[in-house]
Amino acid sequence: MNIMRKLRRHGALAGTIAAVALATTLGSAQAETVLRVGNMGEPASLDPHYVSGTWENRIVGDMFLGLTTEGPDGKTVPGAAESWTVSDDGLVYTFKLRDHVWSDGTPVTAGDFVFAMRRILLPATAAEYASLLYTIKGAEAVNTGKAAPETLGVRAIDARTLEITLAGPAPFFLGQLTHYTAYPVPRHVVEKHGKEWIKKENIVSNGAYVLDEWVPNSHIKLAKNPKFYNAASVSIDTVILYPQEDRTAVQRRFRAGEIDVATDFASDQIDWLKANLPNETRIAPYLGIYYYPINTSKPPFDDKRVRQALSMAIDRETIVDKVMKTGELAAYSFVPPGTLNYGEPSYTSFKGMSQADRVARAKALLGEAGFGPDKPLKFQLKYNTSENHKRIAVAVAAMWKKLGIDVELYNSEVKVHYADLKQGKFDVARAGWIADYNDPQNFLYLLETRTGVNNYGRYSVKAFDELMDKASLTADLEARAELLARAEAIAMEDQPIIPIYYYVSKNLVAGHVKGWQDTVNDIHRWRYLSIEK
């Protein structure tokens, strides 16, 4: 054993350390298989109605099982529902629940789903992510306190049959049901313990794992749920998730063999990682967009030519190749390519032009808008504090400088940044969006007038809104995709947002972890993985 050999040379202290280390190794070297994960965040909660982060999803997503769930390749597969039918108008879904139980042996019923969906939407629950369920008929009215929870379009026909009525046709609905906002919660436990239901001694779940231990800022331990309907297929007995966020510290732990999976790494480490850990470094396209919203309600940004010029002048290839270097793709659309229920995205018209031509055209556009050497365009570019955001902002400012634009870089901590965006207190700002479900609507709706505060730049164009409205009423997938593409084309012509790059997911996965597949939503359920000794 390599470690022992090294230790012998380090005398008595090292000897003791070795004994302890060995004891620890022996202790865990029994039949039990353990997966140790660098999870990049302390969960705010384990109640699926209160979570919102990817690091929480990596925990609750293997504790609870929605009607549909993610397969090993990230695609939607049956979960708690074994089958379903959809009405011809695409509005009524009838699910047949699998015969399965909560981890305390109580059967999971359609009533648990009804209870959960009413609970997350109740104003008193104050669930921040509830609006994701607005696809369901009556959800918005319940959530805003305008209607009683009983009016929600979710009902239990019998213990194992659930009927959900939608507000409009939504081809992404089955995919949306994999999201944690749609997980069931155990009615019998929540009603008995109230807020305390999530505590280790009370919680029960219907997924592959149950909560075994939670020491804040230290770790969360999940133990295999022997009552899981498909427990026989679950290979890993224990999953330990460490909340450490410091990417380089996690990378050192990974190198030292203390963790098996690191769910992110620092971009500036990419050269080292590619040279030293090429097989462990996993980079894959991710359904997300890094973009700069422009405040269209504020002159001179209400002028389309100014926005187009700003967008054209940004050399995205330089940003992804020289600044990021992590395999991100230069973005010329708002919807990332490869999004489901969509064809090729509608790209900006200047995608085919060379960068030199773009800069020339941008100069001309700015000139038309009344800006030039004697009247330079001056504004602020806001970004939230982060090394990457800063590097990109500096690069972009330099590119704009070529057009004679005078940009002031303004960084603030994340809460202040988003408060400013919400209140429209910005000229141009940094933002990002990761899809909640795999559908173009999940990106494009951000530019609808009715979206309100999340339409940061207050883009409001009737033709765009009408196409989005029409698409939301269209059940035919091809016709819908066509309408959405037309809407995106309008937005890409108007450039209320400057797309910069499509995100990639970055993971470090040890060689002995088997079954890992790169997925577009970066969801990898632990129940599908195994460890090869």
Partner: protein, 307 residues
């Protein structure tokens, strides 16, 4: 003496109240709120959330509610870590911070005073310069540089110690955080000790002691060191409070489940109750430790009388 302690503790109450008040209102003046985020909440939902936490009430009313809660020992819920109360978080995390901090402090005192005295006794010699150069380096190299270097060398390359993690409190997991936390303190204390020791060694009473023909070891250990420790002791009060309440850097790098991160995380997340809780906790510790320092001071220095 007991009357003195009692009086000091009573006088701490208005101090704490002032701290609570200032912290409460300063926190609210900061722009951005606890629920501002990438996905901004629709106005109706935001209203629900604010109502659930009583944040829709007038500020003064919130303040009175908060102080009222404090009197009942209720520090409120954490906005960010919704499954825990602030009390759970602070009392759950403090033991880890306390262990790491007190071990680091002990290490810092033993080595700091040792090195400082050693250097002072060999003033302007090569040994003195060597020790003081090391100490300067120790002060100059920040924790966030030293800690990764230590983990890289001892953890990754030599595989001697765990790189990070708490390991349910196993002592191997504590070595690196303790050492990394102690190093700058060792450096600072040794410089402090050396400085005051040099001064004391040149003072009249030491000359008298030597003139009496006392053995050098008695002069140094019984007379000089006692006097030389006074500035160290007064430094130790606030230093102890800072060290035992945890270091953000150390806790982040080594994944120590302490409370050092809560203050910074709380402030960044605008988790008002968590920030208030850590402020109050920290203030109480400082008050208590300053009292202890004053008591030690009186014991070390006969000129100081506690009445």
């Amino acid at each position: 003496m007991f009357r003195y302690v009692f009086r000091r503790l009573i006088s701490a109450v208005p101090t704490l109240l002032i701290i609570v008040t200032i912290a409460f209102f300063m926190m609210r003046v900061a722009p951005g709120g606890p629920f501002d985020q990438e996905r901004n909440l629709p106005p109706e939902i935001e209203a629900n959330v604010l109502k659930a936490y009583g944040l829709d009430k007038p500020l003064v009313e919130q303040y009175l509610d908060y102080v009222g809660g404090l009197l009942r020992g209720d520090f409120g819920p954490s906005f960010e870590f919704r499954d825990f109360t602030v009390r759970d978080l602070i009392f759950g995390g403090f033991p880890a911070s306390l262990q790491i901090g007190s071990m680091a402090l002990l290490l810092a005192i033993v080595f700091g005073v040792g090195f400082g005295a050693f250097a002072a006794l060999r003033q302007n010699s090569r040994a003195d310069y060597a020790v003081m150069t090391l100490a300067m380096t120790g002060i100059a190299i920040p924790n966030f540089v030293m800690a990764p270097v230590l983990t890289l060398v001892l953890g990754v390359y030599l595989s001697l110690l765990p790189v990070a993690g708490w390991g349910d409190g196993a002592w191997v997991n504590k070595i690196l955080p303790v050492v990394a936390l102690a190093l700058p303190q060792v450096a600072y204390i040794s410089r402090l000790t050396r400085g005051s020791m040099v001064e004391v060694l040149n003072s009249n009473y030491i000359r008298t002691a030597r003139a009496k023909g006392l053995r050098e070891s008695i002069v140094v250990n019984r007379h000089a060191l006692k006097g030389a420790l006074l500035p160290v002791v007064s430094y130790l009060g606030p230093a102890a409070a800072a060290v035992v309440t945890g270091s953000v850097v150390i806790e982040t790098i080594f994944e120590v489940p302490g409370i050092g991160r809560y203050f910074v995380l709380g402030a960044l997340n605008r988790d008002y109750p968590l920030v208030m809780g850590t402020v109050i906790f920290y203030a109480m510790l400082i008050i208590a430790l300053n009292l202890v320092v004053d008591l030690i001071y009186a014991w070390l220095d006969p000129k100081v009388r506690l009445e």
